[in-house]
Symmetry: C2
Subunit: 339 residues, 2 copies
DNA sequence: ATTCGCAACGAAAACGGTTTCGTGTTAATA
DNA sequence: TATTAACACGAAACCGTTTTCGTTGCGAAT
């Protein structure tokens, strides 16, 4: 086991000072050509790599980005991570991923773990429990320490920082309008509790579309589930007791599950009933029939988040100017709606 | 913006030495009750947290685990990450996730980035390109430096380290046997190229099951796809030109996609043709019909990997003893096979 | 009065780099 | 010949901790 070689080792071996070695490896003008060549050759031979930790301590910059998300086993979030990684790695940053598991406490603990020097900034999406409690002191503390934060998707107005979201209201509006345009009148909505910023916005978009097209919003056609568990029982009851010719769901699981219910009840999709979901994941693509969805562009969201964060991290300026980027959702038409 | 307070700050403010502060905060016996109380109160008031980076430099331990996987947008790998996170976080470790994107070069780069002090050990699954090239020098270098490595799922015998896999051969065997027991005779296999360790093992299990039950292995019933892309064209051709009453697929996407093809051709599942896939993900659960699968227990795999790694990291011993844990796969019966 | 022991604290090295500011040597200039 | 500037390099501080090894001051024992 040959352990890592340090500047000190090289200096001792070549009988020069540590500073000379350091400068030589950075190709400093101060050092003579001969010495530089000798040192560089030696370093290459022994495969010298500077110790990241030491550099971090000196620079007070770690080149690590902390990502805290509610759930890692969720297609949307993984695409966001992919986007973050793509952009961050290209700029020499590593990504430290922590999942809050929708728990407020775990979110706080993870942030505290990372905030003590491990990372240069945070990219995060709020745990549902956090949105429910409406307590953002952990976020405020971090920003007050000067650690940049970018919030995506599940955001809050309570904390001042950069934000990236898609226009959820518009997305739901587009989906509902699509169904209305195809002559659907009895459009149901399966969503989650309103404390989730995204669900609230989507419900608004749904209402807006119906109202604007002179359709009454029938509250019995709206099912609000707790976000945590996919309650099959409730969906089943709802589906069987509600007359609908179209259903909008705030995620693909609700949609695909309900489609199956419909099919078992002898309904044809999309002839008798059509479906639109949110999140353009594998489930939508490979469902039978494939599911029309509002794509949230997770990867793009991740890239933009990373870009915004790294910009803040690397900017010397102390400007306290924050922006919110709103991405446009896209309707991906598949076989669960007509043509 | 109040930036982080350090030991030095406390020492200056309270007119004691840095060492006294450090000891007081660790409740050392050396320091008088009075002084300790004063220092601890001050630290609490100003919310002092030790700087992780400084501690890492001192201890030569980062409490970070590096995870390098082929793809982050993949259910199996995310469940593994979840398992790693769960175990690691409980022990105070952070998880740095890097995706190789199935690329050898990215795998090498990521490992080099992390190996220079950022992490205490690696948990990884090989990129398909790496398995194809059969080049593991980057892994060997890392282990020679004394950095522990745990390989999971996509492993190689070329490098000596701890390993965690499921018994892929057994899994495929179980699946094929299940179909045979139900009277299926013309069992197809949709898999990926043999250089992927798991695909090879699964193919072997499939062959073994057929042979043992006096069924001839018809090579024309085996489709080998490049792992990278899900080639719909090829699957379609294969499906339509091959007579089968059962299909075993090495992942859920292949299975679900092929099920849809079958249904469009008017076949009933599972009456006319039955399906079994690998990976127990959302796709299998919410497919219509739901898909019988060989569960790979990703989360468990992650937990075990993390446990093995942390054990190595924290053990002083220089023992060069490595083990390979083989998990038993489970057959999860759903509606794509008979009862 | 001297020595001893102990309690309570500080100085300094160490981790592995970067960087500023000397300093000694040589060669060019006055 | 004395001065000076450029060159090439080293010493040391610094980042924030931990930890070892002093070093005080003081009461007790001799």
């Amino acid at each position: 086991m040959k352990s890592k070689i340090t500047l000190k080792d090289i200096a001792r071996e070549l009988e020069v000072s540590i500073s000379t070695v350091s400068k030589a490896l950075k190709n400093s003008e101060e050092i003579s050509r001969d010495t530089k060549e000798k040192i560089q050759a030696f370093a290459k031979l022994y495969n010298y790599r500077p110790n990241n930790i030491a550099i971090s301590l000196k620079n007070k910059r770690t080149k690590n980005i902390g990502v805290v998300i509610p759930d890692i086993v969720h297609h949307f979030f993984t695409t966001v991570i992919r986007g973050i990684e793509k952009y961050a790695n290209a700029r020499g940053y590593n990504v430290i991923v922590c999942s809050s598991d929708e728990s407020f406490d775990r979110e706080v603990i993870n942030m505290e773990m990372l905030a003590n020097g491990s990372i240069d900034g945070f990219i995060m999406s709020l745990a549902s429990e956090t949105q429910q409690k409406n307590d953002y002191n952990h976020l405020k503390e971090v920003t007050e320490q000067g650690i940049p934060v970018v919030l995506f998707d599940r955001i809050t107005n309570e904390v001042e920082c950069d934000k990236v979201i898609i226009d959820d209201q518009l997305g739901a509006y587009m989906a509902a309008k699509k169904m209305i345009d195809q002559g659907r009148k009895k459009i149901g909505l399966i969503t989650t509790a309103d404390y989730l910023s995204v669900s609230k916005a989507r419900t608004q978009g749904y209402r807006k579309a119906l109202t604007e097209h002179n359709l009454e919003v029938d509250e019995s056609r709206i099912l609000k589930l707790s976000s945590m568990d996919m309650d099959e029982e409730l969906i089943q009851q709802f589906f069987e007791s509600t007359e609908m010719d179209a259903v909008l769901c705030v995620n693909e699981i609700f949609a695909v599950y309900t489609m199956r219910l419909a099919q078992r009840n002898g309904l044809r999709i999309p002839e008798d009933i059509s479906f639109i979901g949110f999140t353009d994941g594998f489930l939508s693509e490979y469902a039978n029939p494939s599911l029309t969805v509002i794509a949230q562009h997770g990867q793009k969201m991740g890239e933009i988040s990373a870009q915004m964060l790294i910009e803040k991290v690397e900017s010397e300026a102390e400007e306290e100017t924050y922006q919110t980027k709103i991405l446009e959702p896209t309707l991906v038409v598949r076989d669960s709606t007509i043509n």
